[in-house]
């Protein structure tokens, strides 16, 4: 018989609004966590998933309070327990692994000491035993040479290593239940795959139950046995992981899975309209009604109950799940993107090097940059008018740095940025004339930061119009409304402030502002990574549509290979500020590829339990590019010998026009990778 270790019964958590209304963040949640199982809680921001996870350890965030229901652990309700008693459970019986381990670890204490603290609190071992246990724990989370790691400070470890330490600390009390709140969200793709694999191993090895909270269905798919899908504070679907990912019977999950770009499919996925309602705005009826493709008249006024279907072992909150049952396995359609690129060259980067090193006094006086091993080196890319070129790589690969230099925000050390074959653009803003500034516009990652919170949408979009075209009065307003309509926002958005918009709407305003300048090139810096999954596809579709209408060229920076696959015509893969591979996106995603591309492709997490990430290289983080030889030598699993360490590899062309920079001949790479 399975043992239930955590029972959540009719749990409702909410807050009181200024007007005194009770607004629910969690609505009547009932679920059980069984011993030894891993449950994934998935939902977009604001769906209440973190609130639920915190309630499972008896914690309710400041400002919120429990309205009803209980969280039962060892047959006592955590939510009305005294803090003295809770202390005995937290850390010892229920442990939590936070999202950002870098912030969760105390910066001025050594790793070993911090784990020791956890052990002192949660175990009865003496000093000798604790010392042994620390290296045992560090070993378990697969940190190299535990003895030296224990003596280091948190900042001396990489993000992945910090996350491992957080896991080790959580395991110190040998908990029965492990709560993980987005534990891999801030990590690089390759590191993420490694950490997930470790969590899987720990779940099997220790038999601990895990609750894995994430917005990322790809990560959830890799670890969970069971998935709970949350939408605006309710459980809308709950069932075995495989069924939910392959044959979702709730329209929200169905739409969500259809809108996630996949590596195997080139082209833009269908997008889901609208965005999740704010808490307290649903007036009866199904919370997903506005965005649902299957809704009927009755969904508007009646809200469906969570219904348990015995034959599928699944609970679903929908009147029309049968329609989806008939559909069976999910079938993703993508709209193939049109390749608009013309033969004409629009931007040419030749031999670009960029250095972040602090310059010596003499160099400062002569206003020059000297650095033998710059952060970004030898970037040669030729960008054609109308194409979308993507720069891909992990953090620290220099992709955003290159973007900054193109925008004129960062001085280059060497190299030329040439526009339309004739004009050289300076990498210093002050030396560019207004027209040069107009032709290149930026869209940023986080619309919360890129829109001035004290400006209305009108003021935000008016800025480039006033600056570049000197528009005024009625004409200005007409142009603003025109732009808003182009990004599918109504005229009434004009007087709103960014805080009154949802994430997707904010990003649309940012897109409108970029297009207001009528630019030739738009630099997109991780434009979708701050957005919710269901909104991401809509923004990508919009960008593609605008590009086809205006013939704009995009330089698209992203760490997400599936997104890049969906939108780009050509891809350049970067490692440590050096190009590894450049080619048409179809070919980059096919073998043969550069060993680094191979690692990246292998580590992508897909929302499919059948596709497991392939862990090829170690997830070490290199601080500085190597001085000599191939940039990837430190992590390459296909290293051929001294030549990789001494000589910069040559560019080799594949049959389809894909350029790879590697010492291994293309034919051999192909043979190795197809094995």
């Amino acid at each position: 018989m399975t043992v239930i270790i955590q029972k959540v019964k009719n749990l409702s958590i909410g807050f009181k609004s200024k007007k005194g209304e009770e607004i629910l963040i969690l609505k009547n949640i009932t679920t059980n966590i069984k011993k030894g199982e891993t449950v994934g809680i998935v939902g977009e921001s604001g769906s209440g998933k973190s609130t639920l996870a915190l309630a499972m350890m008896g914690y309710v965030k400041h400002g919120l309070y429990t309205i009803g229901g209980e969280c039962e652990f060892n047959s006592s309700n955590l939510l009305n327990m005294k803090s003295k008693d809770l202390e005995k459970i937290r850390g010892r019986k229920i442990a939590m692994i936070p999202q950002n381990a870098g912030q969760a670890l105390t910066p001025n204490l050594k790793i070993g000491y911090q784990i020791d603290e956890a052990l002192q609190l949660h175990s009865d071992l003496n000093e000798k035993e604790r010392e042994k246990k620390i290296s045992e724990l560090l070993n378990k989370v697969r940190l190299p040479s535990p003895e030296t790691i224990a003596l280091r400070y948190p900042h001396e470890l990489s993000g992945g290593q910090q996350q491992r330490v957080a896991v080790a600390m959580a395991l110190a009390g040998t908990p029965d239940l492990l709560l993980l709140d987005e534990p891999t969200t801030g990590l690089d793709v390759t590191t993420q795959a490694h950490v997930l694999e470790l969590l899987n191993f720990i779940a099997k090895d220790t038999g601990t139950s895990m609750v894995y909270v994430s917005h990322d269905l790809g990560a959830i798919a890799q670890v969970s046995d069971r998935i709970i899908v949350m939408y605006s504070g309710e459980i809308v679907l709950e069932g075995p992981s495989r069924d939910i990912l392959k044959k979702p019977i709730h329209p929200y999950t169905h739409g969500l899975l259809k809108s996630i770009p996949k590596l195997s499919l080139a082209g833009l996925p269908e997008s889901m309209p609208g965005s999740q309602p704010q808490p307290g705005t649903i007036q009866g009826g199904c919370s997903f009604f506005d965005r649902c493709n299957f809704s009927e008249e009755k969904c508007k006024n009646n809200s469906p109950e969570l219904e348990f279907l015995k034959e599928f072992n699944t609970s679903v909150r929908c009147f029309n799940y049968e329609k989806l049952l008939k559909e069976g396995e999910i079938n993703q359609n993508v709209n193939k993107i049109k390749n608009n690129s013309q033969d004409k060259e629009i931007l040419n980067l030749s031999d670009i090097s960029i250095s972040y090193a602090k310059q010596k006094l003499l160099d400062q006086i002569f206003n020059r940059i000297t650095d033998d091993n710059p952060t970004v080196k030898d970037i040669n890319i030729n960008i054609k008018k109308g194409e979308t070129i993507a720069l891909v790589g992990e953090s620290g690969s220099g992709k955003s740095t290159i973007l900054k230099s193109i925008a004129g925000l960062l001085r280059t050390k060497d190299g030329l940025i040439r526009f339309e074959e004739s004009r050289n653009l300076s990498s210093d803003l002050k030396e560019r004339n207004p027209n040069d500034l107009r032709i290149i516009q930026l869209i940023f990652q986080n619309p919360d930061e890129s829109l001035n919170p004290n400006h209305t949408v009108e003021e935000i979009i008016a800025q480039p119009l006033k600056l570049y075209f000197g528009l005024k009065g009625e004409e200005l307003k007409k142009n603003i409304i025109d732009l808003l309509q182009k990004v599918r926002l109504g005229e009434f958005y004009i007087s709103r402030y960014p805080r009154q918009l949802s994430g997707g709407e904010k990003q649309r305003v940012a897109v409108a502002r970029a297009f207001a300048a009528k630019p030739d090139i738009i630099l997109c810096d991780e434009v979708t990574s701050a957005l919710d999954v269901s909104v991401q596809a809509a923004v990508l579709n919009l960008l593609q549509q605008l590009k086809e209408d205006f013939g704009t060229t995009y330089i698209f920076v992203s760490h997400d290979l599936a997104v890049v696959r969906a939108i780009s015509d050509r891809v350049a893969v970067l490692y440590q500020g050096r190009l590894c591979e450049v080619g048409p996106s179809n070919d980059v995603y096919k073998f043969p590829s550069h060993p680094y591309t191979e690692v990246l492709l292998g580590a992508v997490l897909e929302p499919d339990p059948d596709i497991k990430p392939k862990l090829v290289a170690e997830d070490i983080v290199e601080e500085k590019p190597p001085e000599k030889g191939c940039s990837f030598q430190g992590r390459c699993s296909r290293i051929v010998g001294d030549i990789c360490k001494k000589e910069i590899p040559p560019w080799q062309l594949t049959d389809s026009g894909n350029a790879i920079r590697c010492h291994i001949p293309i034919k051999e790479l192909q043979k190795e990778q197809f094995k």
Partner: protein, 297 residues
């Protein structure tokens, strides 16, 4: 779409914004008390010349040091002048001078701070070291020097006080600018090629305005205390103009047997300072700035 309903909040007029802030301030007990005291003092400053029962400079030796009575509510001082008349008139000069002084402090301190925060680099280094150097000079000594060289007229006192109390605002404004400057909307404005002036005016000021205003309000109460200290030392307003600092200074020797002549100006001064302080705190809270976690720089 249902979403539209909750986002009804449209762009508000400036008047509506200000009245919103005042309502929020007055909704807390401390804010209400502070605002009431401040409003009381401001109204009193306006109407006191009309309601004063006696002439503030009429000396009458036969009425020297009379205890409070129905005729002389707060008694009389050592020259036989009515203390009530002098007390209600005593706040006018201090309030006016420090109010305009704070405005000057806000203006130069705020603008210089924002400018330094935006340009950074060597300019910032040099300017801030100069500000630091000035911060290390005891202001009261420097004030005494200025006043003794240029006299104690209002035209000297307002800019001098404004200058000395603006130094601290430079640091606050610079720190607030640093918080904003890293945001992408500034980068975006730079990349578009806006001028420094346009970036300061459109992008930075709306985001640092609140912090600087709150700082200015706090400085006002400090300046009031400072100005009264100057008067106390005899370098503020000159007699026979009624002024709290001066009155306290004159009557302090008589405290043991004519307490009334010193109590009244003390209550006047401290209540005004408390009023401004409470109002500034409530103002900060209404704007969402928590002063308890951010010590003044």
């Amino acid at each position: 779409m249902k979403l539209d309903n909750i986002y009804k909040e449209e762009k508000k007029s400036n008047f509506a914004k200000v009245s919103d802030i005042i309502i929020t301030m007055a909704s807390r007990p401390s804010g209400f008390i502070g605002l009431s005291i401040l409003v009381f003092h401001v109204i009193l400053a306006f109407i006191s010349p009309f309601i004063a029962p006696y002439d503030f400079k009429a000396i009458n030796p036969s009425l020297m040091l009379q205890a409070p009575s129905a005729e002389y509510w707060f008694g009389t001082d050592d020259l036989g002048r009515d203390v009530f008349t002098r007390t209600i008139l005593g706040g006018r000069t201090a309030l006016t001078i420090t109010f305009f002084g704070s405005l000057i402090a806000l203006l130069w301190g705020g603008l210089l701070g924002i400018f330094c925060g935006l340009v950074g680099g060597k300019t910032d280094d040099i300017v801030m070291r100069i500000v630091d150097a000035f911060l290390s000079i005891p202001w009261i000594l420097a004030m005494l020097l200025i006043v003794s060289l240029l006299g104690t007229s209002t035209e000297v006192l307002i800019p001098a006080l404004g200058f000395f109390y603006g130094k601290g605002i430079v640091r606050v404004a610079r720190a607030a600018t640093h918080d904003v400057i890293a945001k992408d909307f500034i980068v975006s404005a730079r990349a578009r090629g806006h001028s420094n002036f346009s970036i300061i005016w459109n992008e930075i000021i709306p985001n640092v305005r609140d912090a600087i205003l709150v700082e200015g309000a706090m400085r006002w109460s400090w300046m009031l205390l400072g100005f009264s200290s100057l008067s106390f030392l005899g370098f503020g307003v000159s007699p026979p103009t009624p002024d709290w600092g001066l009155m306290i200074s004159n009557a302090r020797g008589l405290m043991s047997f004519a307490y009334w002549s010193v109590i009244a100006p003390i209550v006047g001064l401290s209540s005004l300072i408390i009023g401004i302080n409470l109002t500034a705190d409530a103002f900060a809270k209404a704007l969402g700035i928590d002063r308890s976690t951010k010590a003044p720089v």
